[in-house]
Structures are given as C-alpha cells and as structure tokens.
Amino acid sequence: MDLTDLQARLGGADLSALQALNEQDAARLSVLIEHACEHQSETLKQASEQALKHIPALLRPAVRKLLF
C-alpha cells in the first residue's frame, strides 16, 4: 500500500513525515500503523459494548444512542 492509500484509509491524515523513510521502511511502518488502527477500532468497540453492560438499564438507551 502506498502512502496516498494509507492516508486515505486514515481519513486523510497527514502522514507526510513518512516520506523521510525509504520505500521499504515506509511500507513496513504503514503495516504497523494499519495494525494500530485496527487494534484501536477493536478496543473502542469492545470498550463501548462492555461499558454499556455496567450502565443502569434506565440510562442504557440514552448512552447507547450517544456511543453508537
């Protein structure tokens, strides 16, 4: 995946600093960034779902609406 593709996948994030790396290293770092993104998304999802389980039933719909 080239830098433009990675930036697009990250919602247009500015990753111009990666241009200081050679092609091979930029590609390796891109893989790590992708893993970090996936892990971040999964952590957020799990935390939000788990948090809901601890919220009193009466408040749960309002919090769920806010979170998802």
Partner: protein
C-alpha cells in the same frame, strides 16, 4: 548521546503504535528528528481518525454520575483508550474522576497519553494527584513518558513533583525533555540541595549517568548551565574521580565542553586539577592536552598549568 535519544524516540513510537519495540528495529538508522516527526504524525493520525468516537465517549460520561463512570472506567476502559479521551473531558470532571481512580490506573493512562492534547485537564489537576502519579511512574522507571509532561504541567505542579523525585529520576527525566526552554525552567525550579544531588547521582552506578547529566547541562540556558556546573566545586573526590574516568573512558569530551566553560573559577580549578591528575596517572596527558585545544584560551592555560606544561 544521540543513540540514547534515538532509543527514547523509538520507545515513544512503539507506545504510540501499541507495538513491541522489537518491531521498530528497522527504524534504527534514522535521525532523532525524523523519528520525532514520525511519532507526532502517527499519533495525530490515530487520534484524528477516531476523534468523533472519542468525543462521544467523553460526552457519555456527562449522563452518568462520576462514581459510576470511574467504576466502569477501571473495569472496561483500557488505559490506552482513557489516554485518548482525557483531553476531551471537561477539566473539572476529569479532576473529579481522577480522584476516584487508583494511582496505578492513572499512571497507566499517563504512560499512553500525549500530554499536548490534555493540557487543560492536566493543568487543572491538584499537585497532590500529580505528585502521586509521578511517584508511581518513577517507581516504574517510566522516565521517558514522565518527561513528556514537563511541557504540559504548570510550574507549581512541576515544582511539587521535583521536590519528591530522586536525583537519578531528575537526570533521566531531564535527559528526555524535548524543549530546551522548558528544561531550563525545570532546572530553575530546583533548589540548591536538589541541584547538589544531581552530580553524585550521575556518578552512582559506576558513572552510568554521566552521558545524561552532561547532555542536560549542554541543553539548558547559560544561567542554569552555570548553576549545574558549579555543583562540581563542592562534590566529593569520588564524584570527581567518576567524572574524570567517564571523560577519559567513555570519550565524553565534546559533551563535557559546555559544562567546563560554564563553571566559575573555583569549580574550574577543582575539575581541571582532577583531570590533570587522572591524565598523569593514566599516562594520557597528551589526550587531555589535545582536548584542551577545543577549549577557551583561559581554560587551555589552566589545563597546561595543571599538567606542568607552563
């Protein structure tokens, strides 16, 4: 010296990427500035892509009592996630929440946090909380993450932490602080007793901390450099011996140059005499004389006199 800074940057990048340090070995050949730019860029990218969800999580805390939020946080919100959300909370809410969380959890959050995004919240924290968390981070030897907070905390908070930190901890943290201006302010907040403990701390453990100490002296402004350097006029012979050994054996001459030039006459006399004595004993007076050529004429002459060359 730059190897230590480079290692520190790689460690910070590993934390940002939530990846083992070993996976970043391929970046080992890049300059510190490049690694710093990479880390800032990746950190901003990871935050920005989820900022709306982070904000929603932060907003959801307003619907619930803080006691419940604290309980849920510890049970299901990983510190890495709390670190991202902290800066989006209202400072008063964040302070109240922090008072309900245990210090171990708060330290975990701080290790993962980019303090620049949470400056308002951090400045609102009572110094007692800041000190407790800082002591936990010092206990874990998380000096590099601690240094990132020096820019974000108030002078009052920094001063409170500095009063409680070990001299060794101060050397580690000082070495990792990025802003030279802020590092100078940090040293300016230390009293004479704390300052005088820094050089013996550098000499402990067979002089292992001299590179960090000399780097710190080199990076602070003229006033603080003189204060730190003049500590050497009143240290024990063991500390002086450790310094001279480090200069000769670890080849720290270039790093020591700013410190030697910044000293007052009394400190210079003492250090120059120790250097000349070590050079004589080690049979390396030429080595010292060669280094002296990069010093000011005044200091060169002092070294030549101490070596009996004049």
């Amino acid at each position: 010296m730059s190897e230590l800074l480079q290692q520190a940057e790689l460690e910070k990048l590993a934390v940002t990427l939530d990846a083992p340090l070993s996976q970043l070995a391929f970046l080992g050949a890049y300059e510190v500035e490049t690694l710093r730019a990479l880390r800032n860029s990746v950190s901003a990218a990871l935050f920005d892509r989820q900022v709306k969800r982070f904000q929603r999580l932060a907003d959801s805390t307003k619907l619930l009592p803080n006691k419940l939020v604290a309980m849920i946080t510890v049970k299901v919100i990983p510190p890495m996630l709390s670190a991202q959300i902290t800066g989006l909370l209202e400072p008063d809410d964040a302070v109240d929440l922090a008072s309900r969380l245990d210090v171990e959890y708060l330290a975990d959050v701080c290790v993962a946090m980019d303090p620049r995004r949470a400056a308002a919240v951090l400045c609102a924290m009572p110094s007692t909380t800041v000190v407790e968390v800082a002591m936990e981070m010092q206990r874990r030897r998380a000096f590099m993450p601690m240094a990132r907070f020096v820019d974000a905390l108030t002078d009052e908070q920094i001063s409170a932490v500095a009063q409680r930190m070990s001299a060794e901890g101060l050397l580690h943290v000082g070495f990792f602080v990025e802003s030279q201006a802020r590092l100078s302010q940090l040293i300016g907040l230390l009293d004479e007793e704390q300052l005088s403990a820094t050089m013996p701390a550098a000499a402990a453990d067979q002089g292992a901390m001299w590179p960090q100490a000399l780097s710190m002296v080199e990076r602070v402004d003229q006033t603080q450099r003189a204060r730190l350097s003049n500590v050497l006029s009143s240290v024990s012979p063991d500390v002086l011996d450790s310094l001279t050994r480090a200069l000769f054996e670890q080849e720290l001459w270039r790093e020591a140059l700013p410190m030697l030039e910044a000293m007052d006459d009394a400190a210079q006399e003492i250090v120059v005499a120790a250097l000349a004595s070590h050079a004589d004993q080690a049979g390396q007076p030429d080595h010292l004389e060669s280094f002296a050529q990069s010093l000011s004429e005044r200091l060169q002459r002092k070294i030549q006199i101490a070596l009996g060359r004049v």
